[in-house]
Assembly symmetry: C2
């Protein structure tokens, strides 16, 4: 196996090589700190500077308005499925609206249902979760506690093109698998959350961007660790945060700013990479077939199938041999999937496209 | 500042240098994986081997019986304060007993109270939290959902000498700051939990050891991410775990087994280090004064005060200059505190003792 492969894992996923190299250089002794970033107190000046820089970088990249708090949380998107409902739904006397466009939207609704009443405003089952809803298909409740969407369904490979209009109802978004892939209008969201292990860092840290007027909606007896307000008041230091994860978010966001040149540049690169891969699928004469409808194709996750399951097995094993790794589709749907997050270099996508053309020719 | 200081931080805390060096070597490319441990899927064979090894090492070190599950959780001890109550107290129709021997016991009770009725079976306020309770002081309820204790109060520097006898009531223990400092009789516990960032790894991963008959006590509508049963069924892979933290637990437990020779050897080293430091305090003619009563002194955290707050400021700043770092006491109690966890080398404690003697002579 090559020293480093092209890693198409859906998450934890490829990280920028310069970021890994810097983390490696600094791992035993963080310059000026006298010890590893793994060993320093979360209340030390050194760590305070790290977490403040990570937040500042996110604010720079996304243009986050001042009335939004940036929180570093734990537990991944799965815990946010519950926390959003605990903070905004439980005890509100309202119900919450959910778009179920794929696996994660469905799971988010299920977990939120433990905290209060939830309504499905659109379900993609009838279209096999191949697309996102149009605005006029949404059965919105103007009195809902919030509307929850999943901006990118990692498993089905579909992605919203723009935010739905839900008026004064707060828009809550699981952006786990497309966070930072481009600039989004944060001011249209009530809460935007994302686990880090796709575009922002390693597994174990989750970013929550919360509009500050929503902090007061939680019931009084909410446990501290599940309260956005407690995290906001303590600047994410209510308890010990996942320090290394926050440090990695700082490095990744620095890379986005200094090496890539910001999210508009990142988006251009991402569109180009996705364009190459979808062209390889579309140009295969039907040998490879995508799952998503063209208009809602994800720029991050590209699921596709081959003419037969045996061919997929061969495809995956031969790809692995030439350093194209982790292309297996999610266990719930099978097939293949290439996740081409921010840190996947163009060269990796080109190599995959060439491999796909070659494989189709040999096995067509 | 020296390249690496002696780091007396209460947590995140010093890690074994050979562990940091191995993590550094492997950070960009984990041998055989083709990418960083930060980038691999939690469902890959490589990561499965890592999490299974971490569990096996913990089982070896602590002699964990087969009817206990080892879970890798997130959110630190603070989330366990709530999860224990959500899983064992909520909906049980019972109340839960709490020993409040210091800051963390008090916080654990407060957070659990959001989920059901809690009772204090002993409160150390009258003795300024200088000692642990004796068995005959505990006002135990034989019908309690569980008895919660904190085996080591990090801030007050007191530690239990042996587990209280609570009969058939499950004993739930926050062992965050003394986990793995010696072998404990796991079979006496219902749940033993510990955040990793003292003796077991970096911040962001929490170990939960749960007796399997307790898994079924949770209410049916418990959110998945807060359910021990869900984590047990999924072998800690219900969602993406904090992979790097689990990897570090694997390395630290390997170090304990292979370099230290197991927990009995570790305990000998820990007792010797603590003995040196307490001797420095006791032999200072009252210049340094400890907080804890002698019988319950913590082997992990040693808080002490100087004759005047100004002297403490000078002490801390001069110590920092000679590479004795993070000796400031917790913001809630002030003073000084040396945390001398497993990975603190004997040389660090000796250097501190010499510095203390020298400082007392110059400033006495």
């Amino acid at each position: 196996m090559a020293d480093r492969v092209y890693n198409f894992s859906p998450g934890p996923a490829v990280l920028p090589l310069p970021v890994l190299e810097q983390a490696q250089r600094e791992l035993v002794t963080l310059p000026g700190a006298g010890c590893s970033v793994l060993e320093i107190s979360h209340r030390s000046k050194t760590f305070t500077a790290i977490i403040e820089a990570a937040e500042a970088n996110l604010r720079t990249l996304l243009g986050i308005p001042d009335n939004y708090r940036v929180l570093f949380l734990q537990g991944g998107a799965q815990l946010q499925f519950v926390m959003t409902a605990m903070n905004l739904l439980a005890g509100s006397g309202k119900s919450a609206d959910y778009v179920v466009a794929g696996t994660w939207g469905k799971t988010a609704k299920k977990e939120a249902s433990t905290q209060g009443e939830t309504r499905v405003v659109w379900d993609g089952a009838d279209c096999q979760y191949r697309r996102m809803p149009r605005q006029d298909e949404l059965d919105l409740n103007p009195e809902a506690a919030y509307l929850h969407i999943t901006s990118n369904e990692t498993i089905q490979g579909i992605q919203i093109q723009q935010e739905p209009d839900c008026g004064d109802v707060p828009l809550v978004c699981d952006s786990s698998s497309d966070f930072l892939y481009r600039k989004v209008p944060v001011e249209r969201y009530g809460i935007l959350y994302a686990c880090a292990q796709k575009n922002a860092g390693p597994a174990g840290v989750t970013v929550g961007i919360v509009r500050d007027d929503l902090l007061d909606r939680a019931p009084a007896n909410l446990p501290s660790m599940l309260s956005y307000k407690k995290f906001a008041e303590a600047k994410s230091l209510y308890n010990t945060p996942p320090c290394f994860g926050v440090y990695m978010v700082k490095l990744v966001t620095e890379w986005l700013i200094n090496e890539i040149g910001g999210l508009d540049k990142m988006y251009e690169r991402n569109k180009e990479k996705a364009g190459l891969l979808y062209a390889a699928i579309d140009g295969s004469g039907g040998y490879y077939r995508g799952h998503a409808e063209v208009a809602d194709r994800s720029v991050m996750n590209v699921p596709f199938i081959l003419p037969a399951p045996e061919l997929e097995t061969t495809f995956l094993s031969e790809a692995e041999k030439v350093g194209l790794s982790a292309l297996k589709g999610h266990r719930s749907v099978g097939g293949c999937r290439a996740s081409i997050y921010n840190a996947m270099p163009r060269e990796g996508v080109v190599a995959l496209c060439e491999f796909m053309a070659d494989f189709a020719k040999k096995n067509g």
